[in-house]
Amino acid sequence: MSLSVRFNEVVKDFGPVRVLHGVSFDLAPGRMVGLLGENGAGKSTLVKILSGYEPLSGGSLEVDGVVRHFASSREAEEAGIVLIHQEFNLADDLTVAQNIFLGRELRRGWLLDEAGMRRAAREVLQQVGLDIDPDTRARDLIVAEKQLVEIAKALSRKARLLVMDEPTATLTPSETQRLFGLIARLRSQGVTIVYISHKLDEVERVTDEIVVMRDGRFVARGPTAEHTRQQMANLMVGRELSDMFPPRVTPPPAEPLLSVRHLTVPGWARDVSFDLHPGEILGFAGLVGAGRTELFEGLLGLRPRSAGEVRLAGRAVSFNNPREAAHEGMTYLSEDRKGCGLHIRMSLQENLTLMDLDRHAKPWLDLRSERRALEKAVADFGIRAGSLDAPAGSLSGGNQQKLAMAKVLQPDPRVVVLDEPTRGVDVGAKRDIYFLVQRLAAEGRGVIVISSELMELIGLCHRVVVMRAGAVQATLNADHLTEEELIAHATGTH
């Protein structure tokens, strides 16, 4: 049942760029390995080679002692190796059952065995603890459910080695618990598991050993129990990490910069009221689906509002779209970087200045002034880019996020809303972003941080608003706040 893997001097080139420089290590059967590394360390590339999505450029891959060259993910799956993507691979218009059996449908003669697939799908869904009808369309699932369907899909493929790339990035604490239970069961059945996550506390909890990669090279491995989180982080970045969070600076008392009263976004948020002061970092906590993102999308006119009053710097405002909000000095950084945040194919410069083109148009666009803005942003925000002419998609996740932040700050807003500013960002870049947020507040702006990482909210914010099912559950002072307290409010068990 179990399966062992050995990487032998694995090399991978993308064009002239070498991303894996001869990586060697082995995965023992039935063990759970945490694969750690910053963005760009080569983890995802390595597991894509393992699961047949990418061919290797040099070295070899042995599975159970035999050298294998998987030409496709299908071949890897036949060998029992399944990768669960960080990004979902579900066809939105197909049903859950159709997705689970996509590419290897059960048949009865010439016809599809719909009933059989539905039955089998229901079984695997039960295994992952997901209580949904297999006929539900993938489009209608929430993110966490999609994640579980992906896992169910892998299970139905009789995986003997399962690679999970950031499986909990979008899960709530209770869903994460359920996933860990499932992982424990799989491991007891002898499935080898490779677990990629930026969340070191999870790695610490669930893995047997860790393998650390940095800059396309193998760095270290060892039993998880023998490493503290701090040590893991240090191995990943290759240097000592000082404190993650900047020291908290209490803003001087002042009139609220943004004042929201009884705001209702039908279906998502009802009767929400809060104040944001100049220089304040206000956190928004809550489970997935608590309506935090939708509340602010409503505030900015991206969704319909049914009631509420908003005052920005004392003036009553009612935004119909982000354009009006930007004119009044309020901008929003979306949690969905690729879908709403950045134009992946456009250049850094075009992305950066999009919200503030008026400043560079005289009336012809002044490309040199745009370039100066980019150079300034690269310096101010610590964006690391190989070439300033590259498309935004060529940056690593952390640097894309810094670019996206720089973009929403170009119009020099008085209030900036950052939705999941560190999602999918590695430890080093996270710290940079925390210090940037602190600096924005120190400049007298009001900053709102929506985050699913409780430590981040506690470490960074002055106050935290906890939402549950669309309503404000509590507004807590972040001094002496604990994760347990936040979770209790977010789940309504306080």
Partner: protein, 345 residues
């Protein structure tokens, strides 16, 4: 929504050979070759034409080809904006026909009232531009505010415009009065510095289009919307207004093309402007603009339009391939170009 990206390798699928190239600057060689593709193709075609028939490389023939290209070329410049923004307009041929018909009717009607053929022609030209803008506005509003697919809206108006022309002309032709035709004629047949007027207009439209696309806020917004409408909306771009304006611009381009076309024959019939939409779209695509929007180039579009009409011209001048196969050869060229550009995006 899917979780955000955490690894640069994830993006390889999106930007095949540009992703994670920390060391290199600028575009890869392959990209440069593809960008230069249409112009290289045009040069090769001209060499072939010259070899096959010495008449090809004459001044007169070149002017002839370019003058005929002007109509499609001007429309293609407008089409380029619509396609880059992620839209499409299938109605331009019918729109040109209807505008031509309306122009002729109005000119014939106002000429006696005004007593001056020149004034009547000027009125006709203004009518052409206004009608083009109005039709474009209607498309844009239906597409953005009415939330109907551009394909559907313009498929509908494709039928509507031509049907109304047929109705106005009673199935026959609307013809410009003789005196007016003589006054108007020079707009098509005249020349300045030895170059026919339509070529000058084509050039002016292309230069204005290129400036607008590459060096103004509007052009940047058009590209941003086509590249990812949602990102543009979140980035405070007035998406609807920009999109409506692309259709208005295209409508005005159609108006300009029509006011150059009318003096050529002095009449409009149900077959006026037939298949212009396909030729214009083909010119944009051959010029290297992707049909799904995001990026495109006016220069490429101009070269694409010229390239397609040079093919027709060579077939006319030589007897290797029947001139009846003109459309087939153009079709092959479009498919080959699309083949060469595949994987670019």
């Amino acid at each position: 929504m899917p979780p955000a990206l955490t690894d640069p390798m994830q993006d390889l699928a999106l930007s095949a050979d540009n992703a994670s190239t920390p060391k290199r600057g600028g575009k890869p060689l392959r990209q440069h070759l593809l960008d230069a593709g249409p112009i290289v193709g045009l040069v090769l075609l001209c060499i072939v034409g010259t070899v096959l028939n010495p008449d090809f490389a004459t001044w007169d023939n070149a002017m002839n080809v370019l003058t005929r290209t002007a109509f499609i070329g001007i429309i293609a410049v407008g089409m380029c904006f619509v396609i880059i923004s992620g839209g499409i307009d299938l109605s331009v041929g019918s729109m040109a026909a209807l505008i031509a018909g309306c122009m002729i009717m109005v000119m014939n009607w106002v000429a006696p009232l005004l007593g001056s053929p020149v004034a009547a022609v000027l009125v006709g030209m203004v009518i052409a531009l206004l009608l083009g803008a109005a039709f474009g506005l209607a498309h844009g509003v239906l597409i953005t505010k009415g939330r109907i697919e551009p394909f559907i809206v313009t498929l509908g108006t494709l039928g509507i415009f031509r049907a109304y022309l047929t109705y106005f002309s009673n199935g026959g032709a609307l013809t410009l009065d003789n005196e007016l035709a003589d006054t108007y004629g020079p707009v098509y047949y005249g020349a300045w510095l030895g170059i026919p007027i339509p070529i000058w207009v084509f050039l002016a439209v292309a230069v204005a289009g290129a400036g607008l696309l590459n060096r103004t806020r509007y052009g940047r917004y058009v590209q941003a919307i086509g590249s990812n409408e949602q990102v543009a909306r979140y980035a405070a771009v007035a998406v609807d207004r920009i999109k409506i304006l692309t259709y208005v611009l295209l409508g005005i381009c159609v108006g300009v093309a029509t006011l150059l076309y009318v003096p050529r024959l002095g009449s409009a019939s149900p077959s006026t402007g037939l298949l212009w939409e396909l030729e214009a779209i083909a010119a944009v695509i051959v010029g290297g603009t992707a049909l799904k929007g995001g990026q495109g180039r006016i220069v490429g579009t101009v070269v694409g339009a010229v390239l397609l009409s040079v093919i027709g011209n060579i077939l006319n001048l030589t007897s290797i391939i029947s001139v009846y196969l003109n459309a087939a050869v153009q079709g092959f060229v479009i498919i080959v170009v699309a083949f060469l550009q595949r994987g670019r995006r």
